[in-house]
């Protein structure tokens, strides 16, 4: 059963990494405009 003492902290480390990634993306403005990117990805661009 003692495996939980290793796995649980490990899970928390992964969660922390995800949260840090989220904070970074929010602060760099990736959630500021949620409409235009949806439209922009339709332009398959060669330029």
């Amino acid at each position: 059963m003692s495996v939980i003492y290793v796995v649980l902290p490990l899970a928390l480390v992964i969660v922390t990494a995800a949260v840090i990634a989220f904070i970074w993306s929010a602060r760099s403005g990736q959630f500021d405009d949620l409409d235009t990117p949806a439209v922009r990805m339709l332009h398959d661009d060669k330029d």
Binding site: F22, I23, R27, T36, R40, L42, H43
Partner: protein, 816 residues
């Protein structure tokens, strides 16, 4: 290269309609050129097409979802964009040497617009980056200002059909963006922590049922504790800050009881963890923080847009005006105009200031300011106002009032004042939650005192259990969630709702005040009656082809598929009409007096026709070689769905009033035909009158104002709910709480009915969560609240509310 210029179009009669290569609208017969494959409906589209071709951007035409609007380039020089004063206010110089500004673009619609605007670096060399926020029509531009002036970029945008305006709210926008990001970060953290604590709690509950190693139990409790602390000090801090502010200002705020509950639960949970006995409340607390933050975020976003109010209004007056100095004309920023200067206003331009006509005679269209649908003749010595349109002939105007003191600026100040005065949104959820929390606090105190006497050991535990289990989790989510879902669905149906409170206010019948021009009627001059032979029409059309008069527009729109004759001579008589030679025959088109002056009299058939014509129409006579042969009636047509929509609203209990700036006789006639009660179709109301009228009505109850022009803006802002309709001044609509993007009044009916249904869904949701809370509270007071029951009740109540909000029928779900 696009070839859809000649795509098989529905044919009208025997004449095939040819579609414009650029915008896809029918090309007027007079502009057809058989020799080439590209056809254009106007010179604006031709220019835009040429630019796109030259820059290798033909892929624009591959979009199936292109905007179908002719390119109406304003053709201005945008000289003022290069002015140092402009640069100081709007342009930021970045560290990398590039200049950056934000421009509000007119005419932004869909995917193709994003594509095109973001290709600006290819259209105007020197532009480094262009990004468009399609919902807000806001473009961010970065360019090398040593290589290209901003005015050149502005001209480029203008030629493609996106006339730019400076965006005047940059600083406030940056602040909001920071707020939004901080809020998102808090929600993200609170959510991640809440989910993980829930998982730990699940293990603990399972352990309580099936037995668990005490060391393992202790481990999970400490993990929960460790997770709860960051949720508390980071995302949870906002509640303590709010509560502290509420204590200091001695005003009751929802944050106060929440902070008390959070602190009590956290304190007790910490003690229980350390002494290793009794319940820990961390799971409930973390979910509570998360749910409250989400609810608050949704609500704040909705209200945010509503306060954008007057930003765009100021873009109505032109940015630059031409003044005449020492016999020469030069352009000057409108802000710099001073009384005494002489303005040179050409046909089709907007006045930049209030003033008095010194040279010239013309017609002025003041529909935007006063709602008067018919242009008014002006001659030297008469006043004209900023924001109105010169439609007929060049004028010179001496400036009397400019900038802040002009009539339109004063009107906008009213709008701002009304918007500020409007009471802070007291939402149903907030009122309910405040009351609810007060009840819970009292219940907790009573529980504690009663238990203290009977079973002191359990007193604190039960009181805290009560606080936690009844926390307004679901309650805090019920309203914002239902409203957000309803607003999203309504938006897909062409109703843009800026604030949830508008839905609440529209749910029950009240007084509905409607503007006439552009709201009940179509707002543009259309040919409504024609008495006379058909062969005269091409002659009239040929003459009207080159005129900027609104009546000419009515003819052109009515007869897009007619051929036109060859005009060999044409002149224009101000206040009278047009005279010219078409295919060798002398044609006169204009006011009855002007045409009769050219000789000839009305025959009996025409006289009868005029007598039976709708009195709201403007009569236009037509003579050929001195003989009056035809009479046309032009006017502003009532929208096809107006009667039915008004009837439905009246049947639902709404009191309808028509309030218009148009002439009293016109308003009277329209009012009678649409069944307005006597005295409830009011004409000749100035914008100030409209504001006063709405203020007066407000004393008697809720008032909803529907309008489209700047003349309605103050009244729209003052009313409890302001609604802007399709086709109105784009800028004016920003003051409205709701903007209807589909033409006609039927969406107004849909809006009102949808609001009622939304409120029912919200009430049902609130009832559900109150029910859950009542059960939880009774169990806690009775001392029966086991962690298992709490674990089932809490998520079940939230889930019911979420499902209720999602599945509740508010607005029809199909896209229009």
């Amino acid at each position: 290269m696009s070839t859809d210029a000649l795509r098989a179009a529905p044919s009208v009669g025997t004449v095939a309609v040819c579609l414009c290569t650029h915008c896809g609208l029918p090309v007027p017969t007079g502009l057809l050129d058989e020799a080439v494959s590209e056809q254009f409906c106007c010179s604006g589209c031709r220019t835009a097409f040429a630019i796109l071709n030259e820059r290798g951007l033909e892929r624009y035409y591959a979009f199936t979802d292109r905007r179908e609007i002719p390119v109406r380039a304003s053709g201005r020089s945008f000289e003022e964009f290069d002015h140092p004063a402009f640069a100081e206010r709007y342009v930021v110089h970045q560290a990398d040497g590039l200049a950056r500004t934000e421009l509000y673009l007119e005419g932004v619609h869909c995917a193709s617009c994003v594509w095109l605007v973001e290709r600006m670096p290819m259209v105007v060399p020197g532009v480094v980056r262009a990004e468009l926020d399609v919902r807000r029509s806001l473009a961010v531009l970065e360019w090398d200002d040593a290589a290209v002036p901003l005015s050149a970029i502005a001209r480029g945008l203008d030629q493609l059909g996106y006339p730019p305006h400076p965006f005047r709210g940059v600083a406030r926008d940056a602040m909001r963006r920071r707020e939004d990001r901080a809020m998102l970060v808090r929600i993200g953290i609170a959510g991640a922590i809440a989910i993980n604590i829930m998982l730990a709690a699940l293990a603990l509950y399972a352990g309580q049922l099936n037995g668990m190693d005490p060391a393992m139990t202790r481990f999970f409790r400490w993990i929960s504790f460790g997770l709860a602390v960051p949720a508390f000090v980071w995302p949870g801090r906002v509640f303590f800050v709010g509560a502290w502010a509420s204590v200091r200002t001695r005003s009751l705020h929802m944050d106060l009881p929440i902070a008390i509950a959070l602190a009590a639960g956290m304190g007790q949970g910490a003690i229980n963890t350390i002494v290793d006995s009794g319940p820990v409340y961390f799971d409930g607390l973390a979910v509570l923080i998360f749910a409250l933050l989400v609810g608050r975020f949704l609500q704040q976003r909705g209200q945010r847009i509503a306060t954008d109010a007057t930003e765009l209004l100021s873009s109505i007056a032109p940015l630059s005006s031409r003044i005449i100095e020492d016999g020469r004309s030069r352009e000057l920023p409108t802000d710099a105009l001073l009384p005494g200067m002489v303005l040179d206003v050409r046909t089709g331009e907007t006045f930049g200031a209030d003033g008095i006509v010194v040279v010239g005679r013309s017609m002025v269209n003041a529909a935007l300011l006063t709602g008067e649908s018919r242009p008014v003749a002006v001659s030297p010595g008469e006043r004209v106002f900023a924001g109105t349109l010169n439609v007929e002939a060049p004028l010179q105007v001496r400036v009397e009032e400019s900038g802040e003191s002009s009539r339109i600026a004063r009107l906008l100040q009213h709008v701002e004042a009304s918007a500020r005065r409007r009471a802070p949104v007291v939402q149903l959820a907030n009122r309910m939650a405040g009351f609810f929390v007060a009840v819970v606090l009292v219940a907790a105190v009573v529980t504690f005192i009663v238990k203290w006497r009977t079973a002191p050991a359990r007193a604190l535990d039960d009181a805290i259990a009560l606080l936690i289990v009844t926390c307004p989790c679901a309650l805090a989510l019920a309203t914002p969630l239902s409203i957000t879902v309803a607003i999203g669905r309504a938006a897909r149906r062409g109703m843009l709702i800026k604030g949830g409170d508008a839905l609440e206010l529209l749910a029950k019948p009240a007084t509905l005040v409607l503007d006439k021009t552009g709201t009940i009627t179509e707002g543009s001059t259309a040919l409504a009656a024609w008495i006379g032979p058909d062969w005269v029409k091409p002659f009239v059309l040929a003459l009207e082809q080159g005129s900027s008069h609104p009546l000419a527009d009515g003819f052109r729109r009515a007869w897009t598929d007619l051929p036109t004759g060859v005009v060999t001579e044409e002149h224009h008589v101000t206040g009278g009409g047009l005279e010219g030679v078409v295919d060798g025959r002398l044609i006169r088109v204009g006011s009855p007096r002007f045409v009769r002056d050219g000789g000839g009299a009305l025959n009996a058939e025409l006289q009868d026709g005029i007598a039976s014509m709708d009195r709201t129409l403007t009569p236009v006579h037509i003579s050929v070689d001195g003989v009056i042969l035809a009479v046309a009636g032009l006017g502003d047509r009532v929208r096809a769905d107006a009667q039915q929509s008004l009837d439905r609203l009246r049947a639902a209990g709404w009191r309808t009033i028509m309030l218009s700036g148009d002439a009293a006789d016109v308003v009277d006639a329209v009012g009678r035909s649409l069944g307005f009660a006597p005295g409830e179709a009011i004409g000749a109301a100035s914008p100030e009158d409209k504001l006063a009228y709405v203020e007066r009505l407000k004393k008697a109850g809720r008032v909803v104002m529907v309008g489209d022009g700047v003349n309605d803006a103050a009244a729209i802002a003052a009313a409890h709910v302001g609604i802007g309709v399709h086709g109105g001044a784009e800028a004016c609509l920003s003051t409205a709480d709701i903007y209807l993007t589909r033409p006609g009044l039927s969406s107004l009916v849909e809006l009102v009915e949808g609001s009622g249904r939304t409120m029912r869904v919200i009430r049902r949701n609130i009832a559900f969560s109150l029910g859950y809370n009542a059960i939880g509270a009774s169990l806690a007071i009775a001392g029966l609240l086991t962690p298992l029951i709490a674990a089932v009740l809490m998520p079940a109540s939230s889930l019911t509310v979420v499902l209720g909000a999602w599945h509740g029928f508010t607005f029809s779900r199909d896209r229009t």
